[in-house]
């Protein structure tokens, strides 16, 4: 394939992915927005007003970056996992497998599709959050960079989950039993300074902690984690997941018999 043909193939996959989640917007765009608004109302306004400050910020301002990040993470992940597994289930993934599209284009197309939904929902949630909390951007480059890397990382993770999944249970196990606990324990609702040495140390292996803190730094200028260290860790996770996902597609693992 020439470079132009590869570009056409890539754009085709991305367009198809975006069409998919826009076509079923009541399933893909509406629920996360409602969920996050509920979080803002309950944790930000109702309970938050009684908590007071956290790390020197009003609680609603502390929690807002985490809630935006939560929307980006869950939507990037669930878009790719459900779309790719759906293609496996209906066997229309074969349309791509019989074509000359290289694996890295397939991977890039699905990941950019997932990022489009993750970032789209993140943007909607950010706009809505302005109704509940006043905040300005401390560092736009940090904010944009970390949100892009987070969306990339969880889109890659969603694809790996979809490749290994054999049934619909397998695509809900990881979000329910791994992703949700990591988000809740990733410093969205509290500062890890509140945890003791042991649990604070355990939290260091949670990638979401780095993302939430880097994003909070970009918006509010505060972080529990060194910002350079946070970017290093997230970059590392992205590289490893990209390598794993590409290897799985190259080998045709669970795709070709």
């Amino acid at each position: 394939m020439t470079s132009q043909q590869k570009w056409i193939a890539f754009i085709t996959i991305v367009r198809r992915e975006i069409q998919r989640f826009l076509r079923i917007w009541p399933q893909t765009l509406l629920p996360p927005v409602i969920t996050i608004v509920l979080y803002f109302v309950i944790f930000g306004t109702l309970i938050g007003s009684r908590i007071g400050e956290m790390s020197g910020l009003p609680y609603i301002q502390f929690v807002a970056p985490g809630l935006i990040m939560m929307a980006v993470i869950t939507n990037s992940y669930s878009n790719v996992v459900s779309s790719f597994f759906g293609s496996k289930f209906q066997r229309n993934i074969e349309e791509l497998l019989v074509s000359p599209v290289p694996s890295w284009i397939i991977l890039s197309g699905y990941v950019v599709g997932g990022m489009s939904r993750g970032l789209g929902v993140g943007l909607i949630v950010t706009i809505l959050s302005l109704y509940f909390a006043d905040f300005s951007i401390h560092s736009l480059p940090v904010t944009i960079a970390i949100v892009l890397m987070t969306s990339l990382m969880f889109s890659l993770a969603g694809l790996i989950n979809a490749v290994f999944a054999r049934n619909f249970d397998d695509i809900s196990i990881i979000p329910t039993f791994v992703l949700t606990p990591l988000i809740y324990l990733g410093g969205v609702f509290y500062s890890i300074d509140m945890l003791g040495d042991f649990w604070g140390g355990v939290s260091q292996i949670n990638p979401i902690l780095y993302m939430v803190n880097a994003f909070r730094y970009g918006i509010a200028g505060i972080s529990d984690i060194n910002i350079v260290w946070a970017f290093t860790m997230v970059s590392l996770f992205c590289v490893v997941l990209f390598g794993v996902a590409l290897n799985l597609l190259d080998r045709g693992s669970r795709l070709r018999s």
Partner: protein, 311 residues
Amino acid sequence: MQPALAIEQLSKTYEGGFQALKDISLTVQPGDFFALLGPNGAGKSTTIGIICSLVLKTGGKVSIFGHDVDKDFSQAKQLVGVVPQEFNFNQFEKPLDILIHQAGYFGIPRDVAIVRAEKYLRQLGLWDKSHVPSRTLSGGMKRRLMIARALMHEPKLLVLDEPTAGVDIELRRSMWEFLREINASGTTIILTTHYLEEAESLCRNVAIIDHGKIVKNTSIRELLAQLNKELFVLDIREPLAECPEIESYPLTLVEPNTLEVEVEKSQSINHLFEVLSGQGIEVLSMRNKTNRLEELFFTMVEKNLTGESHD
């Protein structure tokens, strides 16, 4: 000229140890209309799966117009289109979108793809369904949609895995006509089918595969020439009370007005009519009862089961 398809010593052993293909070799010439026949589980779909990269081979080599499917996979895939046995498109997408997306995967610009999609949807009688969710299409329409999809990048080799399975007779005939036209325009076609009449009607050459081995690879004409005897049904004017006896022509009275007779290739049908006429039996019409190719097919598969050697 490079063969459209060259398979050398191809083998496939699935996880669990099932050996689906046992070192098969096969060549299909450009422009051919080739039938790959065999009972269920013989290895037809595995062979097709390897040709179009959906199945990973264990050993051997596959080339499409001289391009190795492993070393030169991009070129090889540009040259082959596949119509699988099972429906494998997104049932929630519209037929037009399915075709445009497929063209995109082959690097065809969107404006070209839209024109081409309309052309094939019209040719296959699906244009009025181009904007409905594809899950609402009938089984025959879905099969035609898969043929249109396989043609979007205008492959030189089209592989169809039982394209007319479950399709009514009228539609099957129209699909045959379409495939003949595609073949006449220069596209090499490889077809697997359970309808042996289909292979006899459409194809020039045939390979019979059974238990992962090619048990016969020849032209349809040569294959049919191997038939030693045929069974004819005779409709007679006056009803008979009992079956007449004619030496060397085993007759069966199926109904009072219907006889069946087995005639060997070396025997004269004229002589049979003379004797019947002599006995006062007037024959109104005659037809071949068995599908000739079907008979041969069963003979060959049966021989393979009993372990006789073949070329």
